[in-house]
């Protein structure tokens, strides 16, 4: 019996202690008509050897293409120490630190994480992770509506250059509570949020404005202007940021005159493998004044009965297990282990390491952009500074080009045609510090061949 330690003698003795004739008898309160006798559709069990061979074969089938996709999940180098620490049984197989005295390892690391993320984003407090970047944004939107006592509108201004999935998740998550989302268009020339479009909301009531920095196109926003506009309208500002970019970019706490109110983002770039989309972690930081509206767990430093410092979950009265229907969120299990990976990553990189990763990623993307736009038929779509991804237009439909690149072992980027049809055949492509000059060359070379072939066909 895999993973079940019971010997026949154990079972006999245990049943005797219970006073039951059989294990079957322990299910005698279940209406017999409901019982199933077997699970014929589930395949028979495999040994570890067999299952590992199966998984290795499937992994081999998928291979390891050279990937230039970003779009919200980024291939950064993960130091070997990160996952050798994170998978230690004491971290990996513990649960939420309800028993603080027996969980100081997890608790202290969360406190360290909170400190790092608050500082990175320029805010005062941080929670112990949400599910992912998109759900963190959805939670931020709900939180902003709760926190903004001045506004009665439950109306959120959301830029169209925010990640389309984030917009979809916010909609699916918050619309049941009657929130309204207003889309802010972007400037066709720069890819930035249109200040002109924003000015149409002048004088109106809205709860919050969302700002993505860098935005989905990799373009840097004029965050000060956006922030000040919202604050001038009594709205809160929610920043959706890339944590690695923040090594170089002004932290949201310093945007505009007063700084934003809530910062969220995807923690994946900090030490989490791409892993087809998860597990990642959503982060959220805010100002102390909003902390009681913040969802998720929070760790505080306190003292024990002997006066020695220690760490414990705090402000639990916000949470579902205490406040139930009135909680700030229903979140319970979060993404703790990934947050730990992020903490170890940040500790290993430090401020300078993170800056270098960010700088090199920007540089590589600039090189990529140069190399690809040197290919006939490829152009940059937006002018101006960009962080580690860039939108390019092709003179052919994108999908077959990506497919042809795929056949050469290259994942060229994300086809934007479905998300932003107005851009025509456009491609969002990305290079981080993991891409070498040779990688970029081989992409450019392959692309020029593929486009040439497409034109010839």
């Amino acid at each position: 019996m895999p993973f079940i330690p019971h010997t026949e003698q154990d079972v006999r003795e245990m049943l005797a202690a219970i006073g039951a004739p059989s294990i079957e008898a322990l299910f005698d309160e279940i209406p017999s008509g409901l019982r199933v006798a077997a699970l014929p559709d589930v395949p028979p069990g495999l040994s570890e050897l067999e299952v590992m061979q199966l998984m290795a074969a499937r992994a081999r089938q998928d291979g390891r293409p050279l990937s230039f996709i970003g779009a919200g999940a980024y291939e950064h180098h993960i130091p070997a120490a990160v996952w050798s620490i994170v998978t230690r049984g004491e971290f990996y197989s513990a649960y939420t630190p309800y028993q603080a005295e027996a969980s100081q390892g997890t608790l202290q690391s969360i406190y360290e994480y909170q400190t790092m993320m608050a500082s990175l984003t320029g805010m005062e407090v941080c929670n112990a992770s949400l599910y992912d970047g998109a759900t963190a944004l959805a939670e931020a939107v709900l939180m902003a509506v709760r926190a903004n006592r001045r506004s009665t509108a439950a109306r959120i201004l959301m830029p169209r250059n925010l990640h389309p999935h984030y917009r979809a998740v916010a909609l699916a998550s918050a619309s049941n509570q009657g929130l309204q989302f207003e889309q802010l268009p972007y400037e066709r020339g720069t890819g930035q949020t249109s200040l002109e479009a924003l000015s149409r909301f002048t004088g109106q009531d809205f709860s919050a404005l969302v700002i993505a920095q860098p935005n989905f196109f990799g373009v840097l926003e004029d965050v000060d202007a956006l922030t000040d506009f919202a604050h001038a309208h009594g709205a809160l500002v929610i920043a959706a940021v890339n944590p690695i970019a923040l090594a170089l970019l002004k932290p949201p706490g310093q945007w505009g005159a007063k700084g934003v109110n809530i910062v969220v983002g995807e923690g994946q770039p900090l030490g989490c493998p791409l892993s087809s989309g998860g597990p990642y972690f959503g982060f959220m930081t805010t100002r102390l004044e909003h902390v009681r509206q913040m969802p998720g767990r929070i760790v505080g430093r306190t003292v024990d009965v002997d006066g020695r410092p220690g760490f414990t979950l705090t402000l639990q009265a916000r949470e579902q297990h205490i406040r139930r229907a009135k909680a700030t969120s229903n979140i319970c299990t979060n993404q703790g282990l990934l947050m730990l990976a992020g903490t170890v990553y940040l500790a290993l990189l430090g401020a300078e390491g993170l800056e270098r990763v960010a700088s090199l990623s920007m540089q590589r993307t600039a090189e990529l952009s140069r190399a690809l736009t040197a290919v006939a038929g490829v152009k940059r779509v937006f002018a101006g500074a960009c962080f580690h991804e860039v939108v390019l237009s092709l003179d052919r439909p994108v999908a077959p080009v990506l497919q042809a690149l795929g056949a050469r072992g290259i994942e060229g980027g994300l086809d934007l045609s479905d998300y932003y049809p107005e851009l025509g055949p456009a491609l969002l492509t990305c290079a981080t510090e993991t891409k070498s000059a040779a990688d970029i060359d081989s992409y450019a070379h392959a692309l020029s061949e593929v486009l040439r072939a497409a034109r010839a066909a």
Binding site: P2, F3, P5, H6, M14, I18, I23, F27, I30, L34, R35, V36, V42, G45, L46, Q61, A81, W83, G89, E90, S93, Y95, Y98, Q99, G105, L120, E124, V125, D132, L171, A172, S173, N176, L249, S275, S276, G278, P279, V291, G300, R301, V303, R308, G310, Q320, R323, I331, C332, N334, G336, L337, M339, L340, L346, L348, L349, A351, E352, R356, S359
Partner: protein, 493 residues
């Protein structure tokens, strides 16, 4: 030995430099957008980091080091093969937006996982993307709302939850814009049917139940519950947190549930990771399949040309009535792979044994502990995979609390059971041993509980002042909440 904060190890100019990319040209960030002050990240060596977090890890109790009978959390052994498979470089390195063509192996695993989850739950459709139990609850209630809306049954905005429900249930109702309405539980632990009948009506969107319930007993009149709710036009939601109890014995679909979530991090043994990640796959009966969240994996067999099946993502385009997208990408894929590997190792017989031995362990422990003199909350009932002790009597007689018992157990080398949940039962311990623990371990726990009881009677101070032997003694939670200290400041020293 106390471990300092990582910031206290920091020294200006130190760094784990093997992790630094070589110097690069100054980045082209426009003036006004540039960061001017470095964030407070530690400046430490790689050894500092490894030693610090290794030492911190040793301060934790965990399944790998201690018996961890935390009720409602199913802290069973997490097979290491699951991690090894999910971390294979091809899986770990795959981008979520990679083309399905380069992910057929991965998608095959997810598709088969969907199929197996349907088989074991008796549901007709499954979506894997929700990221934890509560997220699955959200998806479920959102689907129920979408269903009523699709029938223009707009006024249904009440979600019924039993008194003892987990906090995520009412919180989920609120997040979905519904009103949570509690119904009473009878003295036998089953839902009070009269109260339920009185509660349902034209505003009833549905009911959220776990079965076995959070009281550790099987809701025997589940068929009547279903009839009452369905007849009132409501749907039934199954909170799968307790699925471990009945795996392979009875299926939510057969109990007439319309929507369910499964906590893969409980029943299917993916690691709890000190708080997460989880995975809260949802399953639905036929009438809710159009509303499932996207993406979902579909299989297309090209029967005509005899080639192998191929897999692709279904999106809003394929499922126009979907409640939409709930996650940045496709869910906690790495967790799903771990669950897949676990399920394949168990296989059909192994899954049935899960429910059997989880139940055996709980009933054994309940029998032994009540024989010692502890009071079961529902002494007349079979335990499911977990059970509740109430220390009301000991609280009264010895002046100790459930918390005192919990803390003393830590001293004795056991993680504490869940305390003070469900709120319905005063001074309670919710104890879930899981099927992966041996009789010897349970016996050792019984011995510890015997010692605790003896101490409660003879030297209650031992309990009240516990823990004695952990890295810290009992912490001042009140101070933690009053004098918020949530981040280290460089001025803290």
């Amino acid at each position: 030995m106390r471990e300092p904060l990582i910031f206290q190890l920091s020294r200006p100019g130190r760094g784990a430099r093997a992790q630094w990319p070589p110097t690069v040209s100054a980045p082209a960030v426009p003036e006004g957008l540039r960061r001017t002050q470095r964030p407070l990240l530690p400046e430490v060596s790689e050894l500092d980091v490894v030693r610090h977090y290794t030492r911190l890890s040793q301060l934790n109790y965990s399944i790998d080091t201690h018996f961890y009978p935390l009720g409602s959390c199913t802290m069973k052994y997490n097979p290491r093969a699951c991690n090894a498979a999910a971390m294979l470089p091809e899986f770990a390195g795959r981008h979520p937006l990679s083309s399905p063509a380069s992910g057929q192996g991965f998608l095959a695993c997810l598709y088969e996982l969907q199929e197996m989850l349907m088989s074991v739950t008796g549901m007709r459709g499954v979506a894997l993307s929700p990221l934890a139990g509560a997220h699955g609850e959200f998806a479920g209630v959102a689907m129920i709302r979408a269903y009523h809306r699709s029938r223009s049954d707009m006024q249904r905005n009440e979600i019924i939850v039993p008194q003892a429900a987990h906090g995520t249930n009412p919180a989920t109702a609120s997040m979905c814009g519904c009103i949570a309405r509690e119904v009473a539980v009878g003295p036998d632990g089953d839902v009070d049917l009269a109260a339920l009948s009185a509660a349902v009506g034209a505003k009833t969107a549905g009911i959220m139940l776990t079965n076995p319930s959070t009281l550790g007993v099987f809701e025997r009149r589940i068929e009547e519950v279903a009839r009452i709710v369905h007849q009132a036009g409501g749907l039934l939601y199954y909170d799968g947190a307790n699925l471990n109890a009945i795996l392979g014995k009875v299926r939510p679909g057969d109990m007439a549930f319309d929507a369910i979530h499964m906590n893969l991090h409980k029943t299917f043994s993916t690691p709890h990771g000190g708080g997460g990640p989880g995975a809260g796959a949802v399953g639905v009966a036929a009438r809710l399949t159009p509303f499932l969240p996207v993406p979902i994996v579909a299989r297309e067999s090209s029967a005509e040309n005899g080639t192998a099946a191929s897999y692709r993502w279904l999106t809003e385009r394929d499922l126009p009535q979907s409640i939409g997208r709930l996650t940045s990408f496709a869910g906690n894929a790495g967790v799903l792979l771990r669950a897949y590997v676990y399920m394949r190792m168990l296989g059909r017989e192994g899954m049935q044994r899960v429910g059997e031995y989880a139940t055996l362990n709980a009933n054994y422990l309940a029998a032994r502990l009540t024989q010692l003199g502890y009071d079961a909350a529902y002494p007349q009932r079979r335990a499911s995979h977990e059970f509740i002790l109430t220390l009301k009597r000991q609280a009264h007689e010895c002046g100790i609390t459930a918390m005192d018992v919990a803390k003393r157990l830590l001293d004795l080398g056991f993680h504490a059971p869940t305390t003070y949940f469900p709120l319905l039962i005063s001074e309670c311990l919710l104890i879930e041993p899981t099927e992966t623990e041996s009789k010897q371990t349970l016996d050792a726990f019984v011995a510890a509980m015997a010692q605790v009881l003896r101490e409660a009677q003879q030297e209650p101070e031992q309990l009240r002042r516990a823990p004695h032997s952990l890295p810290v003694r009992r912490l001042d939670d009140v101070r933690a909440a009053r004098e918020l200290d949530l981040t280290y400041k460089s001025t803290d020293g």
